[in-house]
C-alpha cells in the first residue's frame, strides 16, 4: 500500500504546470471567451510538443502509453489553468478509443495527428448529442446504436448552442451513420465506449479538482489583500472558517479522484464505483469552493472583470457533465445497497 504519485508523475505535472503558467494565463482564457482562441491554441500546441496531448497513445503511435492514473495530475493542471479546448475528449477518451476501435485506415489517418495535437477529437456518447468544442474540433468519434463512428468534423452537422462558459463552444452534433465512418466491428464497441465514459468522468473530476484549487487560491489571496474596517478581511473568523471548509472539501475530493485513477488504470474490481465517488466529490467540492470564493470576493467577484467567474462557470458545467451527482449517487447506491 502506497498512496502517492511517483516522481515521474510529479515531474510530468510540473512540466504541464510550467507550460500553462506561461501560456495559459487568465488573459488567454479571457481571450478565448471572446472568441480569440490563438493563445489557447498556442498553449495546446506547446503541450502537444512536449508530448502531453498524445500521452495515452501507444509508443508506436507517437505516444507514451500512459494510463488513466498518469493522466490525472496533468489534467488537474489544465483545470487549474481553466485551459480551453477538448483535452479531456482528445487525450483521455478519444485517442484510446481511436486506437482500440479505429479501423486501420482511421488510425492511419488520424492517430498520429491526434497524438501530435494536430487533430482535436471530440466524443459523442450514445444519447449525448450536445458536445463541447464540437465546432472547433477536427474529428468526431461517436457511439450510435451500439456502433462506433469516426469522421472528420466537416462531415458533421454542428448546430451551435451556447454555454454559460463561453470557451466550451457547445454544439449539437448529427451525422449520417454511414458505413464509411464505421469503426471496427470485431471489438466490443459497447464495452469500449463504456470505458470511455468512465475515463471522461474521471478526467473531468481531475479538472474539477484543479478548478477548485485555483478558485481557493484566488479567494485566499483576495482575503489577504482586501482590507475592511482597517484590516484584511481574511482576519475575520467567518472568512477563515469559510475558506477552511472549502479546503477540507477540496482536499478530501483529491485522494478520491486519485484512487479512482488507480482503480481504472489497474482494472480494479468496482472501479466504476470509485469513478462515481471521484465525480461526486470533485463536483461537490468545486461547486462549494466556487460559492465560498464568490462570497469572499463580494461584489468584485460578481463582475466579469474579475477572473473568478471563468473558473466558476467551468466548474458548474463540468460538475454536471459526464454524469451529475444524481447519476453517480444512484450508481454507488446500487453497489452499496
Amino acid at each position: 500500500m502506497r498512496f502517492a504519485f511517483t516522481d515521474d508523475q510529479k515531474m510530468l505535472r510540473d512540466t504541464v504546470r510550467d507550460v500553462l503558467r506561461r501560456e495559459c494565463s487568465p488573459e488567454v482564457v479571457r481571450d478565448a471567451w471572446e472568441g480569440k482562441t490563438e493563445g489557447a491554441r498556442s498553449a495546446w500546441n506547446t503541450l502537444a510538443q512536449t508530448g502531453l496531448i498524445g500521452m495515452t497513445a501507444s509508443e508506436g503511435a507517437g505516444g507514451m502509453s500512459m494510463s488513466e492514473l498518469d493522466l490525472l495530475l496533468p489534467l488537474e493542471e489544465t483545470g487549474y489553468a481553466a485551459m480551453p479546448g477538448p483535452i479531456v475528449d482528445t487525450a483521455a477518451v478519444g485517442i484510446p478509443l481511436l486506437e482500440a476501435a479505429g479501423t486501420d485506415a482511421q488510425r492511419e489517418r488520424w492517430l498520429g495527428l491526434a497524438a501530435a495535437g494536430e487533430a482535436r477529437i471530440v466524443v459523442s456518447f450514445e444519447d449525448r448529442e450536445m458536445v463541447p468544442h464540437a465546432a472547433s474540433a477536427d474529428i468526431l468519434i461517436a457511439e450510435r446504436g451500439g456502433a462506433g463512428y469516426c469522421l472528420p468534423i466537416d462531415e458533421v452537422s454542428v448546430v451551435p448552442e451556447r454555454s454559460v462558459d463561453r470557451t466550451r463552444e457547445v454544439g449539437k452534433v448529427a451525422f449520417e451513420p454511414s458505413p464509411s465512418y464505421r469503426m471496427r466491428e470485431d471489438v466490443n464497441t459497447v464495452a469500449l465506449f463504456a470505458l470511455g465514459r468512465e475515463r471522461a468522468a474521471l478526467a473531468t473530476a481531475a479538472q474539477l479538482v484543479g478548478l477548485s484549487r485555483r478558485m481557493l487560491d484566488m479567494a485566499v489571496q483576495y482575503a489577504k489583500d482586501r482590507e475592511q474596517f482597517g484590516k484584511p478581511i481574511g482576519a475575520q473568523q467567518a472568512i477563515k472558517h469559510r475558506l477552511a471548509n472549502a479546503l477540507i472539501e477540496q482536499e478530501f475530493a483529491r485522494p478520491t479522484v486519485y484512487r479512482a485513477g488507480w482503480s481504472l488504470a489497474t482494472g480494479a474490481r468496482d472501479a466504476e464505483v470509485d469513478v462515481s465517488l471521484a465525480k461526486i466529490y470533485a463536483g461537490q467540492a468545486a461547486k462549494f469552493v466556487a460559492k465560498q470564493a464568490l462570497q469572499v470576493h463580494g461584489a468584485i467577484g460578481y463582475t466579469i472583470e474579475c477572473d473568478l467567474h471563468m473558473w466558476m462557470k467551468r466548474a458548474w458545467a463540468l460538475a454536471a457533465a459526464h454524469g451529475d451527482a444524481a447519476h453517480h449517487r444512484e450508481r454507488v447506491g446500487r453497489h452499496v445497497l
Binding site: E161, R162, V164, R168, V170, K291, A299, T303
Partner: protein, 386 residues
C-alpha cells in the same frame, strides 16, 4: 390572529389580478439590465404608473393607491404570479422613495416622486466605493460647498443599472474634519451632468447591470440634499434598512419561483430522483415559511412596531433560500444547465442558470450575510461586539 384576507383585501387582489392578466406583455422582455431591455421595461413602467400600480402604497397625490402593507404584499404576490417584468425603477421606488417620505421636503417630494414612479426619471443607487463596500463609513468621496450648492468629487461603484439611469443618490463627506459616520451628507445627483463619467461593468450573468460612477467637481444645488447637511448617515441607514428588510424581497417572488420549480419537476419527473423530489418539497415549504414569517413581521409593522435588526433574519433567509431553490432547479435540468438563452436546447431559455447567478448576489449585496449575522448576534441576541 386572522389569516384570512379581508373582503377588501380579496377585492384588491382580484383587481390586481385582472389588470395584470390583461396588461402584462405576452412576450418576455429582454433583460432590464441591458440598454435595450431597460428602455422596453420603462414602457411597461409607464403603463403600470398610468394605471396606478407603480407604487401602490404611496399617497394618491403621488400616483399611489394608499394601499396597506398587506395590500402591497398581495400586489407583489399577483405581480410575480403572473410573471410580470422585473422592476427597473426599484432603486427609486423601493430605496429612495421611503427615505424621501421620511426626510424629504414637500418640494422634493412633489418634484421627484411622480417622475420616478412613472420611469420618466430613473434612479440608481451610489452607495459603495471601491474601498467602501460592507464598511460603508470608510467612504472617501467629498462634497465641497460653493456658491448656491456643492461640488461632488469621487468614485462610486456597484451602482445597479446606473449606466442607463438619469439620477443617483449616495453619501459624500461634507466635513473633512470628521471621520467615519460623521460629517457625511446625503446627496441626489445627476448622472448626465458635466464632470460625471459612468462606466458600465458586466455582471456575472453577462448583463451590464453594474456601473462605476466617476465624479469630478460636479455641481449640485442645495435642493438636492436629503435631510440635514453632515447628518447623511442617519438618512442613509433608513434607506439601507429598507433595502435589507421587506421591500426588495416580498414572499410573492419566492412563491412564484417555487411554483415554477414544481412545474419544472413535473416536466422532468422521469429523470428526477427522489432526492431532487425532496429538495423541491423543501423549496416549496421554505417559500411558505418565509411567507408566514413575513406576514408576522408585516403585522407588527402595520401595528406601528419598529422592526429594526430583525429584518436581518429576512435577508439571510431569503437570500440563502433563493440560492438553494435555484440549485435544485439546476440539478433537475442536469447537464443542460449550462445552456443559455442563445441555445436552441436550453431549458426555459436558460432562465434557471441566469436566476441562479442572480441569486448568488443575494448573500453579498445589501449588507453581506456575514454582516447580517453579526447584526443578529450583537443587536438581537446581545452578544458582545469585541
Amino acid at each position: 390572529m386572522d389569516l384570512n384576507f379581508t373582503d377588501s383585501e380579496n377585492a384588491f387582489r382580484r383587481e390586481c389580478r385582472s389588470w395584470l392578466e390583461a396588461n402584462v406583455p405576452s412576450q418576455r422582455l429582454p433583460s432590464g439590465d441591458t440598454k435595450e431591455g431597460f428602455a422596453l421595461h420603462l414602457n411597461w413602467e409607464n403603463k403600470l404608473f398610468d394605471a396606478g400600480w407603480a407604487a401602490v402604497s404611496w399617497p394618491k397625490e403621488y400616483g399611489g393607491r394608499e394601499a396597506t402593507l398587506f395590500e402591497w404584499l398581495i400586489f407583489e404576490e399577483e405581480y410575480y404570479r403572473v410573471g410580470a417584468p422585473s422592476r427597473v425603477t426599484q432603486n427609486g421606488i423601493f430605496l429612495l422613495a421611503p427615505t424621501l417620505f421620511e426626510f424629504g421636503t414637500d418640494e422634493q417630494k412633489s418634484r421627484i416622486l411622480r417622475p420616478m414612479a412613472r420611469g420618466d426619471v430613473t434612479w440608481g443607487q451610489a452607495w459603495s466605493e471601491p474601498n467602501a463596500g460592507s464598511d460603508l463609513a470608510s467612504l472617501k468621496s467629498t462634497a465641497r460647498r460653493v456658491e448656491g450648492g456643492w461640488r461632488l468629487t469621487g468614485q462610486k461603484t456597484w451602482s445597479t443599472r446606473a449606466a442607463f439611469c438619469d439620477m443617483a443618490y449616495g453619501l459624500f463627506r461634507t466635513d473633512p474634519d470628521q471621520a467615519r459616520h460623521r460629517g457625511l451628507t446625503y446627496f441626489m445627483f445627476p448622472l448626465r451632468a458635466e464632470g460625471v463619467t459612468v462606466r458600465g461593468v458586466d455582471r456575472l450573468d453577462g448583463d451590464e447591470g453594474f456601473a462605476e460612477i466617476f465624479l469630478d467637481d460636479v455641481f449640485v444645488p442645495e435642493t438636492e440634499i436629503l435631510g440635514e447637511v453632515h447628518h447623511g448617515w442617519k438618512v442613509a441607514m433608513a434607506t439601507t434598512s429598507s433595502e435589507r428588510g421587506l421591500s426588495l424581497r416580498s414572499p410573492g417572488r419566492f412563491m412564484a419561483i417555487a411554483s415554477r420549480l414544481v412545474n419544472l419537476y413535473h416536466r422532468f419527473r422521469d429523470r428526477s430522483d427522489p432526492v431532487l423530489r425532496d429538495q423541491v418539497i423543501q423549496a416549496w415549504m421554505d417559500a411558505q415559511v418565509y411567507r408566514w414569517f413575513t406576514y408576522q413581521t408585516v403585522t407588527r409593522m402595520a401595528e406601528g412596531e419598529e422592526i429594526g435588526p430583525d429584518s436581518s433574519m429576512n435577508k439571510v433567509f431569503w437570500s440563502e433560500m433563493d440560492v438553494r431553490t435555484h440549485e435544485t432547479a439546476l440539478a433537475i435540468i442536469g447537464d443542460a444547465l449550462e445552456l443559455d438563452e442563445a441555445s436552441p436546447s436550453a431549458v426555459d431559455a436558460g432562465d434557471w442558470m441566469r436566476g441562479f447567478q442572480f441569486a448568488l448576489a443575494g448573500p453579498i449585496y445589501a449588507g453581506t450575510n456575514e454582516i447580517q449575522r453579526n447584526i443578529i448576534a450583537e443587536r438581537v441576541l446581545g452578544l458582545p461586539r469585541k
